[in-house]
Amino acid sequence: MQLSFKAASRKRQAATLADLPAGSEAVIDRLDLPEDLASRLMELGFIPGHPVAAARNAPGGDPRVFRVEGAEIALRRETARHILIRKN
């Protein structure tokens, strides 16, 4: 799964939430995460097709803070790397 994900991202050059520059917006495409974590993130507002914005980083650059549906949620880069985004 890890491999196919990497291959796919290289092929389509899919951007992830980890790369979203602070202050910019995108639309969530897919959550490439274990089901438990994915549904928890969806409950918090990380839903495919919905907008997401990168707010700011913790001192040191990790975790990062994202804004979804008016709330600010902090995620580590290692998690954000598995949330695929597309430009709106």
Binding site: D36, G45, P59, V65, E69, A74
Partner: protein, 627 residues
Amino acid sequence: MSSCHGSIGTAGLAKPPQVAAPQKLVALIGPPNSGKTTLFNRLTGLRQKVANFPGVTVEHHIGRAHLPGRHNVDIIDLPGIYSLNPRSEDEQVTYDVLHGRMPGLRRPDGVILVLDSTSLQRHLPLAAAVLTLRLPTLVVLNMADELRERGGGVDTEALANQLGAPVVLISAATGEGVKSVAQFLTGGIAVPRLVELPVIQDVPACRQWAREVSRSARYTHPAPPVWTQRLDALFLHPLWGPLIFAVVVAAVFQSIFTWARPLMDAVQAAITASGEMLRAALPPGWLQSLAVDGVWSGVGAVVVFLPQILLLFLFISVLEDSGYLARAALIADRTMARVGLQGKSFIPLLSAYACAVPAIMATRTIENRRDRIATILIAPFMTCSARLPVYTLIIAAFIPERPFLGPFLGTRAAALLGLYLLGFLAAIATAKILKSSILKSERAPFVLELPPYRMPTLSSVGLRLLDRALAFLKRAGTVILGISILLWILASVPPADGQPPPIQHSLAGTLGRAIEPLIEPLGFNWKIGIGLITSLAAREVIVGTLGTIYGMDPDHNSAGLQQALQKELTFGGAVALLVFFAFAMQCMSTLAVVRRETGSWKWPAIQFLYMGALAYASAWAVHRLLG
């Protein structure tokens, strides 16, 4: 769109029909930070009790709301949840309570669902899940004032029509609209009308539904909170953020020593004066000795520390209520990740500075069981408020007050800060060992919602302080009182010529001398030994015990506890005692709660032995070094 209930077209009424009987037991549920507890405090005032359900992990508050028309409703404050899928333990508890599966508690007759009106759309799926239960439900949209200020709005009538349940818009913080909640409770809440609800397991469908419902309720999103943005720019600044955190912590410690001092002196003076009055009022004899030397000096020695403990809780409450603690967890995540834990462990660890018992219960939010057990095992290393009386007593007796870091930090505060640091380092090192051996696991994800900054309300902070003060005094009135009486008896038998024996020949003295060979290498004598035995129940008991021992010892009777200690301990012995208390697991309540949370005696036994061995070895080393 999939749905689990067909739509039944009855006329939409925002008010409950007349047939509804008033509820007797109502559960208060909602997402974290929606202001449930503030509403709970508004409705119940001080009429609350902590309910402790057997076999499960949670301490809940149950309070009674006195309503007009002389009827009362019991309200249960449940943990904050995002959904009703029982995944984490918090959610399991709420799920069980709502389904009437909680042992010792009947199923609630109704639900007050508290949602944050500033993020209504995000929280509506929880409403769908709750309404599916078909319990009489009142939907409360909280933070009305904030919604208005930030330019948002909602049509409650339209929302009530969409949900099939009454909706009220209130602000629990200012009290606006709380009356209408009480009115609904008085009149009784109806079972929700059948409306079309999404299947709650289907998250995207729920979101779609939430979007449609909020659109037809004419919900306008509030603008992002400006102040939160500005404060975060400062508090999460790469340089200023960590620096501010350090300053805040140092200020807390300095004020514990300087601000609490006059209050503590006043309490001390009151206890001494009332003790003398008691002595004068009672005829000389065993009763006078028990009341004054046993009870009064034992309990009084501990009660003196109430101002310090309240001051510590004041700081923790303000930091927590303002929203700063979540930022602190964010800042701490990188450091915590380095020892194999995550930022979420930081919040229980920080509240362990107040008391390990609620801290261990707060670990329920950590989903990964191994992370959770590691956090539980290291939490008692954090310097809890029960260590504070021991630390301040010994520091004040052995360390002279001088400026240490200019006018900001004195030597005593620095020594105290050092002890807090020592506990923290022991916790971190232990975490590292545990996470790289018996509790090794994949790195758990870190997901944390950052609530907007809010001004802590006087009533919420005040109620919490009152709660803590009562809990502290209750302990002083039960555990410490009991041990003081027991100790007085042990110190008074066997009588010699009808008189109490000299303390070293009493039963307590015999016990102390029996363990003296064991503790002598640490620089402690048999009197300290008696204190170590009694402090197995709770750390602060040693202060009361020493108070009783010196109260009964004619040589020390007039001298204060500090002067008495200066004769008993060398400097090295005093530091060894501090280190011993920093590491040792002397708290029955903590061991009991660890047993309850982990489900076996295995972890509390490991914890007790590990912490005891570390305390003994470190105290021995310190005493060897300092002599």
